[in-house]
C-alpha cells in the first residue's frame, strides 16, 4: 500500500466519491486518466497483449511446426543478432538442439504458460474465494475451520508436494493445472477473508439484511462486487505464481513433458549448452521474465487505480 498517498488525497477533493461529482463522464474520465497515466498498466498491458497475441496467432506467425519440423543438420543455429556462417534469417531466434525453430517454439510456449497460469488461477480462485468469503461472512466456527485449512496448506511446501504428486499420478498438462490449482488457493482465502470482514458490517450490507435478502444473495450482490478489485489483484498475482511454478516443475522434468515447448522445459533442455550458446537459456527465460513482470505490473496498477486511497 502506498503510504504517502493517504495524506495527499485528504487535501485533494475526492473525484469519484463526492455525490455531486459522481456522474458517469467525470468518474470515467478520471478513471481513464488514472489508467493511462499509470506506467505500470501501460507497460504491463502492452507486454501481456503482445504475449497473448503470440499465443493466439502462434500457428500463423511462423512457417514451422514447434515439434514436427526437426532438422538435425540445422541444429543450434544462433539467433540473428549473432555473426557467423550458420546464422539464417529463416530462423530469427535460431534453432534448438533438435534443429527446431526457436521462435516457433517460443510462441507456442506462450500458449502453455498462459493456459496453465489462467486455468490454475481459476481453480484456486474458486476454492480460495469460496473459503475466504465464507470465513469472513459467517465468522465463528466456519472462520475457525477455514483458518485451520489455510494453516495446514501453508505448512506443506508447495513445490515439493506438487513434484511428489505429479510424479505419483503422472504428468500431463491437465494434471499440472489441477495440482497447482488445488495447491495455491491460500492467498485467495487469506485476502478474501480479510476484505469480506471489512465490508460485512457496512451499512449497505445491513440494509440488504433488513430488506430480507437471503445470505447467498447478500454475498453475491453486496459483498462480491465490493471486494472484486482485491480479487482481481490476487488473481493476477496467483496467475504469475502458477506460471512460475509450472516453469519450475517443467525445468525439473516433472511438469509439462517433452517435446512440448514449455518455456521451463526449453530452459532445461538448453542448460547443458549454456556455456557455448547462452541464448538457448536466455531467450525462453527472458520471455518468462517478461510475462511475469507484465502480469505483476498490471496487478499493481489495478490495485492502485481501483483503490481510491492509493491514488496519487
Amino acid at each position: 500500500m502506498s503510504d504517502t498517498g493517504n495524506k495527499k488525497t485528504s487535501s485533494v477533493p475526492n473525484v469519484t466519491t463526492t455525490p455531486e461529482q459522481a456522474n458517469e463522464p467525470s468518474a470515467m474520465s478520471a478513471m481513464r486518466r488514472r489508467v493511462f497515466g499509470h506506467y505500470g498498466i501501460i507497460i504491463g498491458g502492452a507486454i501481456l497483449l503482445l504475449i497473448f497475441g503470440m499465443a493466439i496467432f502462434a500457428p500463423y506467425l511462423t512457417n514451422f511446426h514447434p515439434i514436427l519440423d526437426q532438422d538435425l543438420s540445422n541444429k543450434m543455429v544462433p539467433p540473428m543478432w549473432h555473426d557467423g556462417p550458420k546464422v539464417n534469417p529463416v530462423h530469427p531466434l535460431g534453432t534448438d538442439l533438435q534443429g527446431r525453430d526457436y521462435l516457433t517454439r517460443l510462441v507456442h510456449g506462450a500458449q502453455i504458460s498462459l493456459l496453465i497460469g489462467f486455468a490454475a488461477m481459476l481453480i484456486s480462485g474458486v476454492i480460495g474465494t469460496t473459503l475466504g468469503v465464507a470465513a469472513g461472512y459467517f465468522g465463528g466456527r466456519v472462520d475457525m475451520v477455514v483458518n485451520y485449512l489455510i494453516t495446514v496448506r501453508l505448512s506443506m511446501p508447495v513445490i515439493l508436494v506438487a513434484l511428489a504428486v505429479v510424479s505419483l499420478v503422472g504428468s500431463s498438462l491437465w494434471i499440472v493445472i489441477w495440482v497447482l490449482g488445488l495447491l495455491i488457493w491460500d492467498r485467495f482465502a487469506v485476502v478474501m477473508r480479510s476484505t469480506t470482514l471489512q465490508v460485512r458490517n457496512l451499512d449497505y450490507v445491513a440494509a440488504a439484511q433488513a430488506a430480507g435478502c437471503s445470505k447467498f444473495r447478500i454475498i453475491m450482490t453486496e459483498i462480491m462486487p465490493n471486494i472484486a478489485n482485491h480479487l482481481i489483484v490476487v488473481a493476477t498475482l496467483e496467475m504469475a505464481h502458477a506460471i512460475l511454478l509450472e516453469a519450475a516443475l517443467s525445468f525439473l522434468g516433472l511438469g509439462v513433458q517433452p517435446p512440448a515447448p514449455s518455456w521451463g522445459l526449453m530452459i532445461s533442455e538448453g542448460k547443458g549448452m549454456m556455456f557455448f550458446d547462452p541464448w538457448l537459456v536466455g531467450i525462453p527465460g527472458a520471455a518468462l521474465f517478461a510475462l511475469i513482470l507484465a502480469i505483476n505490473l498490471l496487478g499493481d496498477g489495478i490495485r492502485d487505480v481501483t483503490a481510491p486511497e492509493n491514488r496519487n
Binding site: 511446501p157 511428489a164 499420478v169 504469475a240 516453469a247 525439473l252
Partner: protein, 305 residues
C-alpha cells in the same frame, strides 16, 4: 501469555497431525503401493508377499497409526532405494539445507532492510524508486533462471565462484543469492511501510524534540519497533525457503533435503519422499509457532485478539 501459548500450541499439534495424515495418504495416490513396489514383472504371490511385509494388507487407519507411532519415535521407515533408515539419511542431509536457508535469509535481510529504511527516510526519492524497481524486477525473476544466469557469469565466464557442491563456504554464495533474492521485495516493502508508520508517530516527534541525535532516533527508537513484523516475516520466509530450496539445490548439486527429495522422486522412493515432506512441514510449523509466540511476547496487543 501462557493461555495464548497453550492455545497456539494446540493448533500447531492439530495442524501437524493433519499434515501427517495427508503425507501418509500420498502412498495411495499412485493406486496400489504394493503393485507399484513389486514392478511390472512380479507375480501375484510376489505382490501378496510385499503387501504382507509392508503391512499394506491391514486397514488404512491401522497403517496410519503405526506409521505415525513410528514417526513420533523418530523412525520414518526404510528407503526403498537406499535400503537404509530414512531418518538417518534425512538428518545427515538436513544441515546443508539449514545452512543454505540461513545464508539465504541473511543475504535477503542484509539487502532489504537498509534499502527499506533509506526508502522510508526519503520517500519518492531516487533511492526509493531504485528500491521499488529492484522489488518489481525481483518478483518477476524465475529463481532457476536467475541461478543459471549467476552460474553463467560468476561461475563460467569470470570463474569467480565454484558451481556445484558444498566443499567450502564459497559454494554457498550463489545458491544463497538465488534463493534469497526472492524474499527481498517483501522484506523491503514491509520495512519501508513499518518505518514510515513509526517515523510519523508521536514518540518519534518527542524524541526529536528532546534533541536526540537523528541517528539515535532512527536506529534506537524507530527501527527497533518497525523491525518486529519483519522478524516474523523473515521466520515464515525461512520456512518457505527450506521447502522451496529443491530447485536451487538441484541446480547447484547441494547435498541437502531438496536435492534428496528430487533424487527420491526420480527413484520413486516413496518413504523418503513422505518423510521429507513431513520433516519440512514440521519444521515450518515449529518456526511459525515460535515466531507467533515471540510476536505476542513483544507486542501484547496480539495476545488479546
Amino acid at each position: 501469555m501462557l493461555k495464548f501459548a497453550l492455545r497456539r500450541l494446540g493448533v500447531a499439534v492439530l495442524v501437524a497431525l493433519t499434515v501427517s495424515l495427508l503425507t501418509f495418504s500420498m502412498i495411495y495416490l499412485s493406486g496400489d503401493p504394493a503393485m507399484a513396489l513389486a514392478g511390472e514383472t512380479a507375480t501375484q504371490s510376489d505382490i501378496e508377499n510385499i503387501r504382507r511385509v509392508y503391512g499394506y494388507d491391514q486397514p488404512i487407519i491401522v497403517q496410519y497409526l503405526s506409521w505415525l507411532g513410528n514417526a513420533l519415535q523418530g523412525d520414518l521407515g526404510r528407503s526403498h532405494y537406499l535400503k537404509t533408515d530414512v531418518s538417518e539419511v534425512i538428518f545427515a542431509r538436513l544441515p546443508n539445507t539449514m545452512i543454505l536457508g540461513g545464508t539465504a535469509i541473511t543475504f535477503a535481510l542484509i539487502l532489504a532492510i537498509p534499502l527499506g529504511v533509506v526508502a522510508a527516510i526519503r520517500p519518492n526519492s531516487i533511492i526509493d524508486r531504485i528500491a521499488l524497481t529492484i522489488a518489481v524486477i525481483g518478483q518477476a525473476l524465475p529463481s532457476f533462471w536467475f541461478a543459471l544466469i549467476l552460474i553463467f557469469f560468476l561461475g563460467i565466464t569470470f570463474r569467480l565462484l565454484p558451481i556445484t557442491g558444498t566443499s567450502s563456504w564459497m559454494n554457498f554464495i550463489m545458491p544463497s543469492i538465488a534463493l534469497g533474492y526472492y524474499v527481498t521485495p517483501g522484506v523491503m516493502r514491509l520495512t519501508r511501510a513499518g518505518m514510515l508508520e513509526v517515523l510519523g508517530s508521536d514518540y518519534i516527534r518527542t524524541a526529536k524534540a528532546k534533541g536526540l541525535r537523528p541517528v539515535t532516533v532512527l536506529f534506537k527508537h524507530a527501527l527497533r519497533n518497525a523491525i518486529i513484523p519483519v522478524v516474523s516475516l523473515a521466520a515464515v520466509q525461512f520456512g518457505f525457503m527450506l521447502g522451496g530450496s529443491i530447485v536451487i539445490e538441484t541446480i547447484f548439486a547441494i547435498n541437502g533435503l531438496g536435492f534428496l527429495a528430487w533424487e527420491s522422486i526420480q527413484r520413486a522412493d516413496l518413504p523418503m519422499m513422505q518423510a521429507i515432506v513431513l520433516v519440512l512441514s514440521i519444521i515450518y510449523i515449529l518456526i511459525t509457532f515460535l515466531a507467533d509466540i515471540m510476536n505476542a511476547w513483544l507486542d501484547p496487543r496480539i495476545r488479546v485478539n
